[in-house]
Amino acid sequence: MKIIDELIEKEKPNKGLEIFCEEFAKDRIEELSELLLCVNNADLTSAAKIVHKWKGFSAPYGFNYLEAMSKEIEVLAKQNNLDEIKVIAEKIEYYLNEKRRIISNGI
């Protein structure tokens, strides 16, 4: 998780999108619950759709780690690798909570 912290420090949103970052983090945390539900139900198709969306718009908002993890989950979903997806989902959870905390505190 230390690595994730280091990554978070380096992430920056594109100009003009800073004001949306907190809401972005909040929405993603909600969607993460949906993702975990899909994974637990072995509904990898739905899980892939969620991360596909994340992959498309995360980076400009400064959520580069989320983009990278989304790509990984997409690949793992195709491979039916539920265990690995769960591991990554835990990391994403930590990441998003940390991001939200930092953004909220104006750090």
């Binding site: 999108l17 992959k55 498309g56 718009f57 980076a59 908002y61 790509k71």
Partner: protein
């Protein structure tokens, strides 16, 4: 290479015919020669016989002189008389024989001699002299001396009268004999000459052409064997190369997948790894497709599907797929028409796209700066579509250009190492172009300056084919800085169910001065589209209510003049083709940078 069986058959036939003719001719000449030879030999025999006969007469005349010597030597008159009569009797028999021979032998060839002998009455005169000699010998009244004188007198008379004639005749006979010998000699030489001429004629007519055919065939066989060996070697090299081409990306894929299992990998390292795996997988796929294509071409199993296709769509699709590459390299990339093109042509759409995509893709690959221009013209006289692909790239050497279209030989191994590729693309493209009734060639090239390829295909137009009055849309990718783009006054609709995307694209495009409207679903988008006249629409494909394709159909029913771009996370070529076929004027891939979005919108609004 085809061995000419007809030629071999014809040559065999010629040989048999000329052989038979030669044989017959030689037999005829030989027979004629033998006949003449026989004639001449017979003549020689006759000569000899004539000569002998006439000489005998001469001897007889001379023998008369001998009689006179007997008169002198024989002391007894009685014995002398007896001897004389005996001799005369013998001579007389000989004369009679000569006369009989003269009468019986009438050889036409020596008629003249015969006539001389007959006319001069040689035999009769000889007989006359002998009768005189006989009467003298029988006479009891003459003395030995008188007999001697009379016999001598007869001998002289016979000698002067007949001898000269007979000498002449003998001389003529000898001359004739010598002449005939000469004739025989000449005939022999003629025979040799004729055989020589015959041999030369046969040689020129048959053997010379046969040998030149054999030499020519031998050269062809040698050439063929060299080509086969070269092709075999090339195939071996190709297989070795293909093996390397396959192993290289597979090594990368396997290696980086193993690497990605490592949890401690940094974010940028993972991103790089995933990107490399993706790129190499795509490269492998295109390699496999090329190998399959060349295999089909080599075994003549390519099936063409000819139908009427919209020409502009081919160019639009290729431009859309490749302009990103051009923009990355900051190369001026354009499609232009030299003259009016037919709206539709009758050809295999998939294969034509493949060829043009390959040519343009190559041009972009081998050009680091400058331009890639695609210019098309329609030649009405020959009903041919001509496409020129010009670049300002690295160019091709004369040596490379010889091997460029060969499937199993690469233009330059060093170039392939630097730029990648199997070297199959041009071979495939040329074969396909020929299958479409045309060809693919290098029009011009210069090392360091660039190359122009020219593609011709049969347009297959009919009298009803519409020639577009105004040129098709020209596509250019000029190098524009996105920060300088001004879209003030333009109304743009952004449709995406994810507000994050909408906000993002709104933030990007707002900086250009454009008026942005957002729709968060397909239905909302269609409603806004119907209510407002936009200049451009960015439309997401995956939406919960109605997807992008359905929304597009509804929008186009209302107004099909407004450019609508697909905005999707799917970047595969198939997806691009699908969106194009659906009617989207362009395809932008998420995630997208501000620069790409602004430039993409700018270019479509410019048209």
């Amino acid at each position: 290479m085809a061995f000419n069986n007809n030629l071999i058959f014809e040559t065999k036939k010629k040989l048999k015919t000329s052989g038979a003719i030669s044989l017959i001719f030689i037999m005829l000449i030989s027979s004629f020669y033998l006949y003449l030879n026989n004639q001449l030999v017979n003549d020689q025999k006759i000569f000899a016989e004539y000569s002998l006969k006439v000489k005998t007469q001469i001897f007889l005349i001379n023998d008369i002189l001998i009689l006179s010597e007997k008169v002198e030597s024989e002391p007894s008159r009685v014995v002398l008389k007896k001897e004389l009569l005996k001799e005369i009797f013998i001579y007389k028999n000989e004369v009679e024989k000569f006369q009989q021979w003269l009468l019986s032998e009438k050889n036409q060839n020596y008629e003249k001699l015969y006539l001389i002998l007959r006319d001069k009455k040689v035999a009769q005169k000889t007989e006359k002299y002998l009768n005189l000699a006989k009467s003298i010998a029988r006479s009891d009244k003459l003395s030995k001396q008188e007999i001697n004188v009379n016999i001598r007198s007869i001998a002289k008379a016979a000698s002067s009268g007949l001898g000269e004639i007979l000498e002449d005749v003998t001389f003529n006979i000898e001359n004739k004999r010598i002449e005939s010998l000469k004739e025989l000699e000449i005939l022999s030489w003629i025979n040799v000459l004729v055989i020589l001429i015959l041999f030369i004629v046969v040689w020129i007519y048959i053997y010379k052409s046969l040998f030149s055919i054999i030499l020519s065939q031998d050269e062809k066989i040698t050439d063929f064997v060299v080509k086969v060996e070269s092709a075999s070697k090339s195939k071996t090299n190709f297989l070795a190369n293909i093996s390397h081409e396959i192993r290289t990306p597979m090594t990368v894929i396997i290696g980086y997948i193993d690497l990605l299992k490592n949890d401690d990998l940094k974010r940028h390292e993972k991103e790089e790894a995933i990107s490399l795996v993706s790129d190499n997988a795509h490269h492998l796929l295109s390699l496999i497709n090329e190998i399959l294509d060349i295999s089909k071409i080599e075994s003549n199993k390519v099936h063409y599907n000819f139908k009427d296709i919209e020409l502009s769509e081919i160019f639009t699709s290729t431009y859309g797929l490749l302009k990103v590459k051009a923009e990355e390299k900051k190369i001026d990339f354009s499609f232009k028409n030299i003259n009016h093109l037919p709206e539709h042509i009758y050809t295999d759409e998939k294969r034509l796209k493949q060829i043009i995509f390959n040519l343009v893709g190559n041009a972009l690959k081998f050009t680091d700066e400058g331009f890639v221009k695609v210019e098309s013209e329609y030649k009405e006289a020959s009903d041919t579509l001509v496409v020129y692909v010009k670049d300002s790239g690295i160019g091709i050497t004369a040596e490379q250009s010889k091997r460029l279209f060969r499937p199993f030989e690469q233009g330059n191994e060093k170039v392939n190492r630097v730029y990648g590729g199997t070297g199959l693309g041009l071979a495939i493209s040329q074969s396909l172009a020929r299958g479409l009734g045309g060809d693919l060639k290098i029009l011009q090239t210069q090392v360091g300056k660039g190359t122009t390829f020219v593609l011709t295909i049969d347009a297959g137009t009919s009298e009803t084919t519409r020639i577009i009055d105004t040129p098709c849309e020209n596509y250019t990718s000029e190098v524009v800085d996105h920060n300088d783009v001004d879209l003030t006054g333009k109304k743009i609709l952004i449709v995406d169910d994810a507000k994050e995307n909408s906000r993002l694209f709104n933030a990007y495009l707002s900086s250009t001065g454009a008026a942005i409207s957002l729709a968060h679903g397909g239905k909302d988008a269609v409603k806004q589209y119907q209510d407002t006249t936009f200049d451009l629409v960015l439309l997401d494909l995956q939406m919960p209510d109605i997807d992008g394709y359905q929304a597009l159909v509804l929008m186009k029913k209302h107004n099909n003049k407004i450019p609508i771009l697909a905005l999707t996370a799917h970047a595969m070529d198939e997806e691009r083709i699908k969106t194009k076929e659906a009617g989207f004027v362009g395809h932008l891939t998420k995630p997208i940078t501000a620069e790409d979005l602004i430039l993409g919108v700018f270019h479509h609004l410019k048209k």
